[in-house]
Structure formats: structure tokens, C-alpha cells
Amino acid sequence: MWNFIKWEVLQFIGNKKNQAVYIILLLLSLYYAVAVAPNYEPIEKVSRDEMQAAYDTREAFLESVEGRDQLYPLVEYAKFLFPDWNKLELQRVNALDEQDLAAYASATEDWYEFSNQTIYSSGDLFYYNPLYYTYGNRFAKDDGFYGYGYTASRFQDYTEGEHKLSYELFEERTAIQTLQRLLSDFLPFVILISSVVLTADIVLKDRRNPSLVKGFPLADWKRMFGKGIVAIVGSIAALFPLGAGLVLIGLREGFGDFMLGVPIYNTAMSIFNPGPELFTRIPMWEFLLLNLAFLTLWFVALVAVIILLSITVRLEFINIAVGLAIIFAEFLYFERAVSPFTDAYWYPTSYIQVGQVISGTRDFLYASQLFTMERGMLLVAGSAAVCILIILLITTNKRFSYTK
């Protein structure tokens, strides 16, 4: 068995298509590091000018209403709030002027908590950062609410933790934070597509060399198992070329550290009850490890599906088509905030974006408490187990031959 796996590894490495996949991933990663990452514009930037402008606007407002009575209730309300808001704003500005990053982190945490509570409960009186309101976003206020809560939690961690603070850290530009952001963005798609392409021919390639392998004294189910192991390890190895880009980013922006807190959306909390408890945090290493575990589970499931198709349908094109269909299926039914009207939380395909599932963003987007990591992992593992069982049943049939 071990010898067969070694042989398959040799085939896998020598396969030109696989080599191309790794090279493309490496180039993509370098392109991202050189051309895309430097242009990253976070919504929650460290911008003294913006803070000063906001401060000045509120100050001007306060001066304009100073000494006036019988004000319109909403104006009165603003007059009541703005001094506290500006006090926090001024603390942030002063901290930046003094280059006191710890003070800036502490003030920023307070500012985001205060702002979030104020804006979300103010009806249409106050607005979040305008960048949440782009492209006709119907859920801008919710996104702002999530974004401010997330940022508050992040800055709480910077205040309480023992991290090397920097502007890059505050804007999530360090290598590890970039990885964290991408895991909640398009990276799972890239990784899982790579896995599908790497695996598509792992069984069917033997149909080109049947006389070489057919007679091996090894049971077909063991061969499938061996091929599956190689495909999964090969898929995990696809993460390494991506690491090259992260190293480049790390050299430029700093690497960050594995103890950084990653905010996890607390699904049990009501969206109408903003506050620091809306997000809990887990260490970065745990977040990355959970992502790796979930992605590995997906590799197992995708590899199992592709092997099953390879011994039944036996068309490489179908392997790729079905693999991609699984990865992108959620786009067919995804709709925001439809939790009461959907059973999508029972579909394994709703858990492709592993970073978002782990961080609770998926729950937030569906306005649900049901798209949990645990449920996702169980569904994906269950699907993989069913496929593996069917593979076992087929390959132990005495009439079966996968090279026909």
C-alpha cells in the first residue's frame, strides 16, 4: 500500500497539469502580493484627516447651537451626543499626533463601540462610514453594524493583548491578517478549485496505462484510498505556493503574530443589542488551524466525490464540472437575511467559504444562527462518508475494474 502511494506521488508530481496548477498558484500569490495587496483600501482606515474632519464638523455644529434653546428634538439629541463622541475622536487624534499606538487602540475601541451603539439605534439620523453605502447596498446599515462591531473587538484585542502595534496591524495589512482576510474572501474558492483540478485525473489517468497497473496485487479499494490520500496531500500542498506571496507581504508590511485575536460573530446575540459581547475572539493560530481543518475536510469530500465519479461516470470533464458546481452552488440560492425562509443550512455547499463560516460572517449574512462551523463540518464529513461508502461498495464488487 505504502509503495503504491509512493508510486502515485511520483505520478502526481510528474503530472504536467499538476505542475501547471502549482505554478499558477505561485504566480497568483506573487501577483497578489506585488500588485493587489499594496492597493488594499480598508473601510476602517487609520486616517487622521478623516478624524479631524469629523471632529471639526461636530465642533462647528456644537458651536452653531451653543446657547440656543427650543431646538428640534433630533438636533437636541445630537447636541447631547456630540461632546462625548468628539472627546473620543480627539483622543484618537491626539494619540496619533503623539505616536502613542496603545492609546490610539484604546480610544479607537471605545470610539467604535460608542459609534456603533449610537448609529445603529439612531434610525436615519446618523450613518456609518459612507463606504458601506456603495453600489446600492440594501444592507449597508447592517454591514456597518457588523464592521464597527468587528473593528471594536479587534481594537479591544490590540489594547488588551501583547502585540507589536503598527498602522499595518490596525489596517489588517500584515501577512497573517491578509491571510485571515482572504480566508473570509475568495481564497477558499481558489484552494478548492485547485483541489478539483489536481484530483480530476487521479483515477482516470490509469486508463491510459492499464497494462502497467491493472495487475498490481492490490485491492481496488486500497488503490482508491491511496489515490485519495495523494490527492488530499497534494491539495494541502497547494497552500505552499500561496505562502510565497504572504512572505513578500510579511517582508513589506510585517508578519503579524499568531496570538492576534480574530473576532467571531456571536450568533446568539440579538442584532439589536450591539456591544462588545457581539463578538468574541479566538487566537489567530486557532482560526487558521480551524480553517485548515475545514479545508482539509472539504478536500476529503471533493476528492471522494471525484473518485466516485471517476469509477462510475468515468469522464474527466464531468469530474471538473461537478467539482466546480459544488464549489459555486451557493451562488444559485444565496440571498441575504433569508434565514426564516430557507433550509440552506442543511446544504453542505453553504459552507464553502470556510473563513466566513468560522468567523460567523455566514450566519450574519443569512441573519441566522444555524450556519455554524460544527454543522458545516458534520455535513461535509457526512457527505464524504457517504461517497466513501459507495466507493467501497463499488470497488469490492468482483466485476469492478477502474481501468475499463
Binding site: F4, Q11, G14, N209, S211, L212, G215, F216, T396, K398
Partner: protein, 300 residues
Amino acid sequence: MLELKQIGMQFQEKRVLDDISITFESGQIIGLVAPNGTGKSTLMNVIMNYLSPKQGQVIVGGALKYTSKPNEVKIHQVMSMMPDQNELYNHVSGKNHMKIYQTMWNSRPELIEDTITKLGMASYVKKKTGTYSLGMRQRLCFAMQIVSDTKIMLMDEVMNGLDPTHVEMISQILVEKKREGKTVIIASHLLENLEQYADKIYFFKNGKLHLADDLAPGFSAETVTTIRLPKVTAEETAKIAAKFPELAMQKLPNDTILIDIQQQTDEQITALVSFLVASHISDFHFGKVSLHDLYSMEYQ
């Protein structure tokens, strides 16, 4: 020991294997002779269970049958078939091809170097097989099967693309394997070579296997059985037949006449020779029916 029991195989209307029952003993080289497309490869594929016969059973070692997947694995542990040279992995070296066969069958590792030396492959065996010539690929396929070191070896057209030197090299290794007690079944068109090394030769015809000795009694014997007349006219043939009506004469497609003298007395043979000389037929030879003769008789 390999036993075939009532093996039958049919492709649409064509019956390729017709109720074949035969036993191949250990320590023998078995030759299978037939034109292309008559069923040799089908038979080998059935023996390996790459094709399931419509009827019959393959029995290995007296008891093992293809009744389950675990049994198939057990059988393949003791029986292998030479790979097709067109199916080598071009990006993998010859030595790595041999290594996988050695490791998959868990045979002695030193067999690799030993076989490389015997087949004169040292100069190229570490190169990728994509750079190999036809003969080099063929030798590699043979070497792969040799390092698998199974008790039963099936080889389809093992001598294809080989020059006489390498044919002889491979033949010597086959004889060695036979001495080790292995059963080697070879389908080949190199008739002289088969005739020289095979212990038994079977002809494939109409889906059945015919032992050469049954087709030409005394084929394997070391005695003179035949007078061969390669250049006789029809008139001369008629004269011989008229003079010796009791003689069994056979005309081959190349106009050679074979006279069976196994049942003839010394006096009768002397009379025949005297007649040939008196008739100015000087080109005749005493000997046996060759494999070429039999092939001509059966297939041309």
C-alpha cells in the same frame, strides 16, 4: 500450476475461446502460436481476469479462483502479465518503473540491478522512458515483469522490436526462470525462437488450443520424422505419390512437400531415397516438421 477449465469467450457472434481446458505445469515455457486476432491476447486477459469469460474458471495453485476481489489480489501476487511498452510513463525513468514492480510484488530488491546487468540496460535505465527506442522499451517491460518475480508469467509478444542479440538475452533469462520453477507463457511470432526454448507449443485455432505434438506427432521428439522436398514440381510430386501410395505427403503453401516417414521401414526409406536420386531430385532433407511448417499448414 495454472489450470483453465472450460473457458469460453464470445464477442458478439464470434466465439474467440471455445471451451478451453488445459493445465500449465510449473517449470515450463509454454508457447502460444497463432496469427493476430485469433484470441491469444484475449486468453491472457482472461487468465489475468482483465476480461471475464462467459464460462469457465481459471484456477491457480490448485485452489485459487477469481471468485472475489481478495482472491484476485492473491492470484495477482503469484501471476503477472508483461506490460505494454506503449503504456510506459514517459516522464518516469526505467529504473523507477522497475522499482514500482519490485516493491508492489515485494520481491528481492537486488533483482533490479541483476536484471539491468543481464539485459544490458545500465546505460539508459536512469533516463526517462520517453527517450527510449522501441527495443529499449520492450526490454524494460520484460525487465519489469522479471523483477516482479511471480511464479506464473504471461508475456504477449515479448520479442517484438528486439534485435537477435537481445532476443537471445531474453531467451536465456526465460530459461533461467524456467529452471527456477516458474511457468512462463509466451505468445510470440518468433517461431524459431519458440521452437528452441518452449517446452510445449500450442496453436490457437477456432477458439481452441491444439498442442503441436497432436497436430504433428513426434514434433517434440528428437528423432527424424520427415523428409522435406523444397523444390519439386507437381509432376514430380505425382510421380512420387504414384510410386509410393502408402506415403503420407503434405504440400505446404510454399510448395514444399513433407513426407512423413515415421511409419516407414529402413528398406522403404532407402527405396524412396533411391527413387528421388534416380528422378534427379537432389534437394531433399531428413529432419522434423518445423514450427514454420506447422504454422503454414494451420494458417496459410
